[in-house]
């Protein structure tokens, strides 16, 4: 087993071994095996209901798996709340619907977790928040409330908010699906620049241009299983399974 080799496990950011999950009787994830190396950028695609969101939500325990093993940053996920907290501190997540806190300003959204989870002094937290807000190119919106921003701006705030915790791994759950078309690019640009800095990323997305540009590996899922995975050029030009071919023919025109 790879986990018993310390050298290998040090390079592994996330490891899923035979992960199974059920919603009641419904078998959503079936024997998922996936190893993500540090610095790797992985794009996960597949039809809706294929379990791709569920899979990445298992990685920070927003969903519980019932069978198998998930090891994140060398820590195995169990029901131990301490370990879950530990993992969530190291794993950032960006959601389809941003999930910004509407009663707090943009700056407060960004400083909240560093202050209360990391115990950082307020001044330092604000400094870091401004640094990341500048990186996502909206420092001037710091004192506004999320409701005053456009969807694209909100999603960039959400990315900045995650980055403020200096995560080792970033999860993106369809970050551009709820955005107007002209705002997709500003969010993708932010994600590309993050990828270029070597962040370990798992992205559920249907932006195939993004997959081609930054992914080391594209994973295709259907019916709770990983059907096929490959580096992007091979994946798009030469899909091995007929299911993948059908899917690609439907989303690439």
């Amino acid at each position: 087993m790879t986990t018993e080799n310390p050298a290998a496990s040090e390079k592994l950011a996330v490891e899923l071994v035979d992960v199974n999950k059920w919603y009641g009787e419904f078998h959503v994830l079936r024997n998922i095996n996936l190893s993500v190396f540090r610095g790797e950028r992985i794009v996960i695609c597949g039809p809706s209901g294929s379990g791709k969101s569920t899979m990445i939500r298992c990685i920070n325990r927003l969903e519980e798996h019932q069978k198998g093993k998930i090891i994140v940053d060398g820590i195995q996920l169990t029901n131990d709340l301490k370990r879950i907290d530990e993992i969530r501190r190291e794993v950032g997540m960006v959601f389809q619907h941003f999930n910004l806190f509407p009663h707090l300003t943009v700056l407060q959204n960004c400083t909240l977790a560093p202050i209360y989870v990391r115990g950082m002094p307020k001044k330092d937290a604000e400094e870091i928040a401004m640094k990341y807000l500048t990186r996502v190119r909206i420092p001037e919106q710091a004192d506004k409330f999320p409701g005053q921003l456009s969807g694209g701006q909100q999603q960039r705030v959400a990315i900045a908010r995650s980055l403020c915790m200096s995560p080792k791994i970033m999860l993106f759950d369809e970050p551009t699906s709820a955005l107007d078309p002209e705002m997709v690019k500003e969010v993708l640009d932010t994600m590309v620049s993050l990828a270029e800095e070597g962040m370990t990323m798992l992205c559920v997305t249907h932006e195939m241009g993004f997959a081609r540009q930054v992914a080391n590996r594209v994973i295709f899922m259907d019916r709770g299983e990983i059907v096929e995975q490959n580096e992007p050029n091979e994946f798009f030009s030469n899909p091995r399974s007929d299911r993948t071919r059908l899917f690609l023919s439907q989303i690439l025109h």
């Binding site: 709340l81 969530r88 959601f95 619907h97 999930n99 806190f101 909240l112 409330f145 409701g147």
Partner: protein, 371 residues
């Protein structure tokens, strides 16, 4: 005729004033009172009804009313209200049987509390501290001021408290204490831990399913039966506990409604950042949930305020009870009307103030759609 391909020169049409009969007083009357024959008829009918009812009411309340004199002889022969009765009993209505020389204490308690409360409505840097003072130090201060026995203050036992003082003590304590208990019960009811959840459900459903009057009755009559001989709770304290627990059960359900209205994404967003349960609740979920249910919370408080009149069942003299007893006084028999109109007016003042304050708070906390 111009050709279809000719360039068009756009000249804006100058603005015209609206038709005269749609603006100003005439326009307003037409739009609101006389739009169609049915509404015109209703308007005329309403004006007639107001004409029939308002002048006699004003006459009774003010024009023919008596305020002078010190006993019922002053009101003899007058058609209007006899406010002399209220005037002579005013001290009791406010303080019950609180000793005359010590009445500055309830006044001070009220002025400090009310002043601090009002100051929180206006934005200032000290607001946070004022709220903290109201929730922590103020109850202690109020207790010592009102009951005395320390710091050279004469002790005034609670049996002597009465009137508006008791009404306010019961309702303010009920409001301040039931709020946190209600929140904890609401969180407990949504907890994943089966024992915590069932305990909260049982408490809420039992207390909510019983009339307040029976809760108070049990607290005063049944409780002493179970307590060892000689152990005797203060009457006022019993009423306070009863009212608080009763309101807390209602508050719990109101807060639960707010918790359910907060989108799941907020819980997930907070959890994904590594916030622990209480941090998530206090920093993210409760501020949003409580904001959503401010109207219902105030609704419960207003209803609690009026329910405090039921404490007469345990032998306390609140405003209404003092007035009721006063109307039975041989010297003042026959002035129930004045008594109850005045009681209604006092309750209305406080309830209306609460609803105004809640509107201010709602407006101040509204950040979601501010563009």
């Amino acid at each position: 005729m111009s050709n279809a391909s000719d360039p068009i020169v756009f000249t804006p049409t100058p603005a015209q004033p609206p038709p005269a009969n749609t603006v100003g007083v005439v326009g307003w009357l037409r739009a609101n009172l006389f739009n169609g024959w049915f509404n015109s008829l209703l308007t005329v009918l309403s004006v007639y009804l107001l004409y029939v009812t308002i002048p006699p009411l004003l006459d009774w309340l003010f024009l023919s009313a008596t305020v002078s004199g010190t006993d019922r002889s002053a009101c003899e022969g007058a058609d209007g209200a006899c406010w002399t009765f209220i005037k002579m009993r005013f001290n009791q209505i406010l303080f019950g049987f609180y000793p005359d020389g010590e009445q500055w204490r309830p006044i001070a308690t009220f002025v400090i509390g009310f002043g601090a409360l009002i100051s929180t409505v206006f934005p200032s840097k000290a607001r946070k501290w004022t709220v903290l003072f109201l929730l922590t130090l103020y109850p202690v201060l109020a207790f010592f001021l009102l009951s005395g026995g320390y710091f050279g203050l004469e002790e005034v036992e609670t049996a002597k408290w009465g009137g508006l003082t008791v009404t306010l003590v019961v309702s303010v304590t009920g409001i301040v204490a039931s709020f946190p208990i209600g929140i904890v019960l609401a969180l407990g009811r949504r907890s994943n831990m089966p024992i915590v959840r069932s305990a909260c459900v049982v408490f809420i459903e039992v207390v909510r399913g019983v009339p307040l009057i029976s809760v108070l009755f049990m607290a005063s009559v049944m409780l002493p039966l179970f307590l060892p001989e000689g152990m005797n709770f203060n009457k006022l304290l019993r009423a306070l506990v009863g009212v608080t627990l009763f309101t807390a059960a209602y508050m719990a359900e109101v807060v639960r409604g707010g918790l359910q209205a907060v989108p799941k994404g907020q819980y997930e967003g907070a959890a994904a950042l590594g916030l622990r349960y209480w941090q998530m609740m206090i920093l993210i979920i409760l501020p949003q949930a409580l904001k959503l249910v401010i109207p219902s919370i105030v609704n419960s408080f207003i209803s609690l305020f009026k329910d405090t009149t039921l404490v007469y069942i345990v032998g306390l003299f609140d405003v209404l009870e003092i007035i009721r007893v006063s109307t039975k006084d041989a010297n003042w028999i026959g002035f129930e009307k004045e008594g109850y109109v005045f009681a209604a007016f006092m309750f209305w003042i406080f309830c209306f103030a609460m609803s105004r304050v809640s509107l201010r708070i709602e407006k101040r906390l509204d950040t979601s759609h501010r563009k």
